[in-house]
Point group: C2
Chain length 770, copies 2
């Protein structure tokens, strides 16, 4: 558990004390990013030791033979300051007025402190952001205000000593010096990919009287010697510019030109652009509380949506959202089921274009999924558990270590956690349901659905003597229990997807018979397959609620396991870093779960179960849940809100929303670094507001809200889009006000109990929720 | 690795030096037994500390909540000797002439030594056997010959302090004193079962001048003070008599009467009976080498057959052969697949009555197998992996410990090692094929076959998109690899059994339609089931020999595992006691196997594969085999002999035959005591001679030999029976001589290449094997 930063405003959070213990979490929480790159929230003088890093998307590379991950590139914003031959740093003098924080309104990392040593002192502050539109650009401004006259020495340039999780990703790093800039050309070890970064630096407020160059193998700096006067600030404006060979044919040229142009524009102008860009984003994504006095919850909503947004590669349709975004290399910069189930809903409901890009990424990686299925002896598409640019499985066979013996553990995330495929299909179906984007469905979606259904069928086992289909040997979302049968989450998802596929195919056959035939031919779909899928929707075993207890069993045999609590199991640990799950962790033979599959199931398929069953299951599983997955608390907040458990829902919202800002999750498990931003949890916070507290549902017939707004919030406001029609919603427990966009082309229908309300384009409607 | 005893004669082996390291293995190797009880090969003065123990069959009891095992009962033969107030023991004086051994000709444990302390000395010797016909009786004779006059003090009686592996099995042990005897009435902890033992003691050669009684809570002794003269031996004849409430309604009365009668008969008369009885046994089971000078191999054959015989409860048809016989409590006194595949063949071919009893035991435990199948969600009969009196599964979920962390390991021997059921069916089919006992088949066998086929069908998975049946998530005999799919051994066995079941049912329908209908009705066999079984024989996936390499893959994915050698893996151990197998042992993710499933398959199904395939597989798997199972070397000996690898076969025969006598297997693995006699290995030695070196095959059309006799042996001789016709065979590499029993009622046909020879009752035939 880290220290807690302060809530500075409804948009800002910052530490006001320096502690070495907070370096990792501050670097993550206060990072700047734009979906193309991420730059950690560190002071300009910090280096690899302080986990300073810039992670660049689309640079998957394997350096150690096991872990393919994004590259952490040389840091072209590093800046060392000396005042009168004394190093200005947090370790070399008396420090006061320390601040390190984030301004989520425009994605600005900022920090400052006053330094004093032997009567020499100065103030130092910086701001930095990753430009949301000029995605290759990171502007940084440092202001140093000496309290005494004398000589300032600034050493700034490119630090080739990078913090990299799994090996040195560069076969070469070649620093280059130019008149106005410095650059480093990096060639990746595995693929020989070129990545170039450059630094463009302008100093104002004082004039250097000497500039020299310092370099070593991989690093290159300019050292500016600057006479200064007390009270006169020296302003250093820098631009880091990053390009890869995937972006442009000559990364070095582009980097130099791009950086030079941005530098010429100046920090203030760039900042203005950034604020304008972010202001547009917030119009779509912001969850607004009535009472802005409630800064903490308001900031938590924004903090999480900010991080979800900067993790999203919205500039392209061939890259995923990494499970740790671009905050570090953990989880390999790759997508998990998180992307579809946790990140995607906000985009589906607010910015379908981004959602479509992310699903198109899945379409483009369909061949990787086909290869994986085939390799494991199945048909169709079994998506990678850990998916990078190609869709090939990136998840290593050995993920954690048994920390006592040091032996690697063979976890079966990559071959048995099959729900990834139906989760993606669920997202395709949901995307279509909400956006009505039939063109995407015909061009991409239907093919994905067919291949996923095909996989699900081939992955099932038919028992003739029981006349039923089983799905054997899986992991559900609860990864503590490997190798389980008829996992409730997986089986219900599979059934939903098979039915959805059949429905879409039937619609396609009617509406676009030519497209249907082309699809049939391309996929070599046989008529047997329709019959099989149909049969499987009817005969797939779906763990039912127990008739007397109402409990749905997470998987076959779960209730026969030892009944224990997470607290009891903690006592059994021999080492706090032990991995709790299979094959020999303390939880695997007990009912203690990492996250609750059945609760997750309810959030996706509320209609299938009675409220009584859901409530009974919630009360059974909740105390047995370790919430060791950052995905878990938000799901509990949504489910609790839907079940009318106001305090429980709020408590879980707070837990979920604070995971990163208050750094509540350990960054290492089973010897593996799993730190960085919990992107899925961030995405889920938006869902807690809209699906949980506001109780929003979009059915084919109408839209509805079923609010359970915490008292402290009074109202929740946000924007939504449904089948091309945008509207703003302001929700309290006693009223719902919806305002349709002027540009809407159709009316929207809202329902409340038996009542129906029609909202015409540009109109406002207020009604009482039932 | 223990020390090696000497080969005293072709019938006898003995240690001639005392070493504390040999106490465990001598106790096992030199034990006396008769299938009802086992008494370890210990000196009369040894106690629990020296693993003295008497294990009684049919006394399954659970004392610790985990391990149901046979009881180790109070030792009613313990005898302490003092000469002139000095204790005579191996630890209290100078020892010479030490001997501790076994005479396999009549199952006699014997031992002696000379003891000397401060000029006082004596010789002490003992003999002991478990009466083969009066199975409740263990006679023991001790002879003490003092070299000096003075006073001998003998303390003999019942030692209630027993060596028990898993807890105290007695809620009470009540010692009782009688005029001529002592007794102890024991009540077992779990079931309240009564077990009584008594001691009856007669002393000759000197007359005690004082007798007193010593007792504590659970023990009771008489102390005899006896004046002795130099050179005049004192002879103590004792009888231990054991009964349980499963044998008689009043164990105490029976024990006293029985012991008193035996004691009255005298040791010499009892010994004569014993020799006569064993002489009859050896006529059936002995493997005789031409050259009796070759004592070691000759003794090894006899040592192993002796132990196989004394482990067999031939007095009843409701008990199994324990995997460690009655040598100790390890493996719970329970049957594994060992019984059918390793122990049964000798009886099928030499003494079908015993074989029938053992299979009847499996019939009587069919309900346990049905319950197990049902509990795990299957139909039919899934036999217990560890089977005691009821057929309920005795195998605990946790068998070994991960020795470094001390955590228990969940091994899936009990729920995934399904080949036990087809192995039993294989034995039923084989028993019928060799004995022609159609009555057994109709009354018991057919029902077992149906229930096992039913189980196999319900345990399989049908893949419609591949039109094939798979058997998923099993362990083959190679237990290092859990949770494997389409294990070659299991799948070929399953197919054989399904076909065999269909054949038997078809025969039954034709020959005994009424019996057939009764079976159908009793088992509620549906016509669907025949069709399913038929279909499964055709569509079950059978791993084929690879077209280019000829290798049959042990299970799906085996060849993709790390290729390593047992020697390399030994280097990776952190602790020599580590368990090598799943879930985290050093072998589980490598191609190193505990024993070779594919080689085992060849031994059972030689006809299915070309010699070339078998040879290629042998050469592939052999160097990757750890032989950590005592079942492994004998199987390699048989396979190597069949493949004409004379030296390889002989080397593996020697390894296999010496496992117990030379104590080559560690008695502890993963923290669990697994010592005691390796009964299956013992049974397999008979098979190495008959099926391996002699190459005996019994087909429906004829019998044949394909000899590969090691040079040192010149010939192998043994008796066989085929469909009620007995004959003696003497086999060399250049001739086969078969002698038919006079009492035979039909001729036997032998074949050699294209030639056929008919052997009439009472006649001798010699021919040249091809």
């Amino acid at each position: 558990m880290g220290n807690r930063p302060n809530i500075v405003s409804p948009w800002k959070a910052a530490y006001d004390q320096f502690s070495p213990d907070d370096i990792v979490s501050a670097g993550t929480s206060f990072m700047a990013g734009n979906g193309y790159l991420g730059y950690r929230g560190t002071f300009p003088e910090w280096r690899a030791r302080e986990y300073a890093a810039c992670i660049v998307s689309d640079t998957y590379d394997m350096a150690d033979g096991t872990w393919k991950e994004l590259c952490s590139i040389p840091n072209a914003l590093v800046t060392k300051t000396e005042l009168n031959s004394r190093e200005v740093s947090l370790h070399t003098g008396a420090i006061s007025g320390y601040v390190l924080g984030i301004d989520t309104s425009a994605g600005i990392t900022y920090g400052s402190y006053r330094w004093e040593q032997d009567g020499h002192s100065c103030g130092i502050s910086f701001s930095r952001f990753a430009h949301l539109e000029q995605i290759h650009t990171i502007p940084q401004r440092i202001i140093i205000t000496p309290d005494c006259s004398g000589e300032l020495k600034l050493t700034t340039g490119i630090d080739g000593d990078v913090w990299s999780l799994h090996g040195d990703h560069f076969s070469s790093v070649t620093p280059r010096k130019y008149q106005q800039s410095l650059a480093a050309v990096c060639i990746t070890a595995e693929k020989g990919l070129e990545i170039t970064c450059s630094q463009h630096c302008r100093i104002s407020g004082a004039v250097p009287n000497h500039i020299s160059v310092i370099h070593d193998d991989r690093s290159l700096y300019r050292e500016y010697t600057i006479p200064v006067n007390a009270g006169i600030p020296v302003v250093i404006e820098q631009v880091m510019s990053v390009h890869t060979i995937h972006d442009v044919s000559s990364p070095l040229e582009h980097s130099l030109q791009h950086g030079s142009d941005a530098s010429a524009k100046g920090f203030d102008q760039l900042l203005l652009e950034q604020k304008t860009a972010w202001s547009r984003e917030w119009q779509r994504f912001d969850i607004t509380l009535e009472d802005e006095e409630n800064s903490e919850d308001q900031l938590l909503f924004r903090f999480n949506s900010y991080h979800q947004r900067i993790a999203t590669p919205s500039h392209t349709d061939h890259l995923p959202i990494g499970a740790r975004g671009l905050s570090c290399q953990a989880y390999q910069g790759a997508a998990f089921w998180d992307q579809e189930i946790f990140n995607l809903p906000m985009y589906i409901h607010t910015d379908p274009d981004i959602a479509r890009k992310l699903l198109t990424y899945r379409y483009k990686t369909l061949d990787g999924a086909r290869k994986k299925a085939k390799r494991l002896g199945y048909s169709g598409a079994f998506y990678a558990w850990v998916s990078g640019d190609t869709g090939d499985e990136l998840c290593p066979d050995y993920f954690f270590r048994e920390v006592i013996t040091g032996r690697p553990i063979r976890n079966h995330f990559n071959d048995w956690q099959i729900h990834i495929s139906p989760d993606i299909a669920y997202a395709v179906l949901n995307y279509y349901r909400i956006t009505g984007d039939w063109e995407f469905m015909t061009v991409h979606g239907a093919e994905m659905l067919c291949e996923i259904s095909r996989f699900l069928f081939s992955r099932s086992s038919f028992r003739k003597d029981r006349n039923r289909y089983d799905i054997l040997r899986v992991l559900g979302p609860d990864e503590y229990h490997e190798n389980v049968d008829n996992n409730a989450f997986t089986n219900y998802q599979a059934r939903y997807v098979l039915q959805g596929t059949l429905d879409i195919l039937s619609q396609l056959e009617q509406q676009d018979p030519q497209m249907f035939r082309m699809l049939q031919q391309r996929l070599k779909l046989s008529s047997d397959e329709y019959i099989w899928w149909q049969e499987m929707t009817q005969l797939l075993y779906l763990p039912p609620p127990n008739e007397s207890t109402g409990f749905i069993e997470q998987f076959q045999g779960y209730f026969a396991l030892e009944d224990a609590s997470p607290e009891e199991l903690t006592q059994r640990l021999l080492d706090p870093q032990e991995y709790w799950g299979a094959p020999i962790g303390v939880a695997q033979d007990t009912q203690v779960i990492k996250q609750a599959d059945v609760i997750q199931l309810f959030v996706l398929h509320t209609d299938l179960f009675s409220r009584e069953v859901m409530e009974k299951c919630y009360r059974y599983y909740e105390p047995r849940t370790h919430h060791r997955s950052s995905l878990s608390p938000a799901v509990h907040a949504i489910a609790a809100a839907r079940l009318g458990m106001k305090h429980e829902a709020f408590r879980y919202f707070r837990t979920a929303a604070a995971i990163d800002l208050y750094s509540t999750h350990a960054p290492v498990s089973g010897g593996t670094f799993i730190g960085g931003i919990h992107t899925a949890a961030c995405g889920a916070i938006w869902q807690t507001a809209v699906f949980g507290f506001a109780g929003y549902r979009a059915d084919d017939a109408s839209l509805s809200f079923d609010p359970l707004i915490p008292e402290a919030w009074k109202t929740l406001s946000f924007r939504l889009a449904y089948r091309g029609q945008g509207f703003h919603a302001r929700i309290s427990n006693s009223f719902v006000t919806v305002t349709a966009d002027k540009g809407n082309t159709r009316s929207l229908v809202f329902s409340s109990g038996e009542s129906r309300y029609t909202l015409e384009p540009g109109k406002i409607l207020t009604y009482t929720p039932r």
